[in-house]
């Protein structure tokens, strides 16, 4: 029994770590040519480059990405929660059409969406601005948020709100002390989705931002194109690290929250 458990844990850890091993190896390599299985020379050149030479650039990219992803997440929650609630709880004429329209940006290739909107963004002078990039990220993040929240509200009893009202709670109190706690897991998942989508968004940022706003994915691509693989690998790891931490933390919390009834 113990052995089986140990094996399971190991295989899970290995399957999570496996994709990162080549990245780690690349980031520490000085010389690695075919057909060698491992780098011929190991060193810290790539990491030194990132933290010294390109340190400020990487840091500002990290910061840009974080601010952008955070803003996008907040905006998509602000609009997504009411929209998801309306779609999940109520029946109204044209509901199916609304759902289809919301799915469109997910079905149509991102390139098409970004290119199409670029023209309008230039006209509305949104191009190459921070709000413009937030808007283009929202075209992908908002539908996800709406669908996650909609799912939560299809299995939601609005009588909880009436009960709270009858017990003397005002509308605002109900929103913050009843509705949000009740749909907390849904909000966390929607926020995660939204954050990750925005964090890893490349095409939209490039087209609308026009390279003016340097996020981490943009930096990563330019490094990859420059052919310096160790540096690209190191940046990739930095790119993944914060997301990985956030994901693990929330998965841990969500699991505990969701399992409360069982434990």
């Amino acid at each position: 029994m113990k052995l089986a458990r140990w094996l399971l844990t190991c295989s899970i850890l290995l399957s999570i770590a496996l994709p990162f091993i080549p990245l780690a190896l690349w980031s520490f390599s000085e010389r690695w040519f075919y057909p060698a299985l491992l780098p011929q020379d190991m060193g810290l050149r790539a990491w030194k480059y990132i933290f010294d030479t390109a340190g400020s650039q990487i840091f500002s990219g990290l910061l840009n990405s974080a601010i952008l992803a955070f803003t996008t997440t907040m905006v998509s929650l602000i609009f997504g929660i009411p929209a998801g609630r309306a779609l999940g709880l109520y029946d109204f004429p044209g509901k199916k059409l609304v759902v289809i329209i919301f799915t469109l940006p997910l079905i149509v290739p991102p390139l098409t969406v970004s290119m199409g909107l670029h023209f309008w963004f230039i006209k509305l002078s949104f191009a190459e601005t921070f709000p413009g990039i937030v808007l283009i990220h929202l075209t992908f993040c908002l539908p996800y948020t709406i669908f996650v929240i909609m799912g939560v509200f299809t299995d939601y009893d609005p009588d909880f709100e009436d009960q709270a009202r009858s017990l003397g709670a005002s509308a605002l109190t109900i929103l913050f002390q009843i509705v949000f706690p009740l749909i907390r897991p849904g909000i966390i998942i929607a926020a995660l989705f939204s954050f990750l989508l925005s964090w890893s968004q490349y095409l939209g940022t490039l087209i609308i931002g026009g390279g003016k706003i340097l996020t981490l994915p943009i930096l990563l691509f330019s490094l990859m194109l420059s052919g310096d693989r160790p540096v690209a690998a190191a940046v990739s790891l930095i790119f993944i690290f914060p997301v990985f931490i956030v994901l693990m933390y929330s998965a841990h919390n969500l699991g505990r929250h969701g399992n409360r009834g069982i434990r």
Binding site: Q163, A164, L167, R260
Partner: protein, 344 residues
Amino acid sequence: MGSLQLQEITISYGGKPIIEKLSLDVGDGELFSLLGPSGVGKTTLLKTIAGLIPPKSGTIFINGIDVTKIPAEKRDAVLIFQQPLLFPFLDVGDNIGFGLKMSRVGRNETEQRVKSILALTGLQGLKDRKVHQLSGGQQQRVALARGLVLEPSILLLDEPFSNLDAELRLRMRELIQEVQRQTGTTMLFVTHDQVEALSISHRVCLLLGGTVRQTGSPEELFNRPVDREVASFFGCDNLIAGAIKNNCFASKYLSCQINLKDCKRCFASIRPEDIILSPAELQGGIPAKILDIRFEGSTSRINVVTGGQTFTVLSKRLKYHAGQNVWLQFPLERLHFITEFCKV
């Protein structure tokens, strides 16, 4: 403590009227039941009284004050739903204290009041439990405590026991009566279960087809229904059509002296358990034939036919069989006269 008056309340949903011109008067400290079949709009009416649904027309008075325009959160009436609806992210104590927190009652007083209500509802020692650790009956008691702790003028209860099993329901009925006796809270209790309504209430109001049919003591409604539908609702379908003339009721099956005004069309009703059934000839009895028998435990429901009309009889005797010839007797003191078609 409080009283409730409804004046010509009309409630419509999606353009269709559910409740029409309903008037009701619940006295201070009364346990009043609103009885009616499912889908008659009882829940809607309670939500309207609680302020969660606006009425189309009419006025609601609590303690003589017009509260029709006062929002639910400020109204001195608390609604307890069919489901316990306990907030899963709060423990039992915080659930019960929720309303007190909303009305900004101090921490010490809240603790005190929660403690005494826990004792009153038999929930001692469960204050720190999580909601999901409670049984169905306990959850419903917490829901009751959560409303009671606010000491509202009116406590509105929407079939709070309908999701519990039979034995638990009996215990909850006793609890409600006990709590009502001790606190003197005016309670408006909605149910579709006539036994429940009859057993716990001071007064019962029967709601059929969106209007009040009869209001009175449980005994009154059960034994003296005003019309045939009310009689039928309480399981009395034995109606004998006849006429009253010169203080005498005359019909195909029986005639007797009564003290009522002349009427060309009226009905004598008799409850199934009051009809005397005998396999041997009864003096003044009516010969009849058994159609079918349904065994129901302590009694059997026997349908008999005589002179083209079917009567339902509840009998404790088991030795009857379908097709048997029997004799019926209608004890005159058990007859109730329905005079809905008579001129007053």
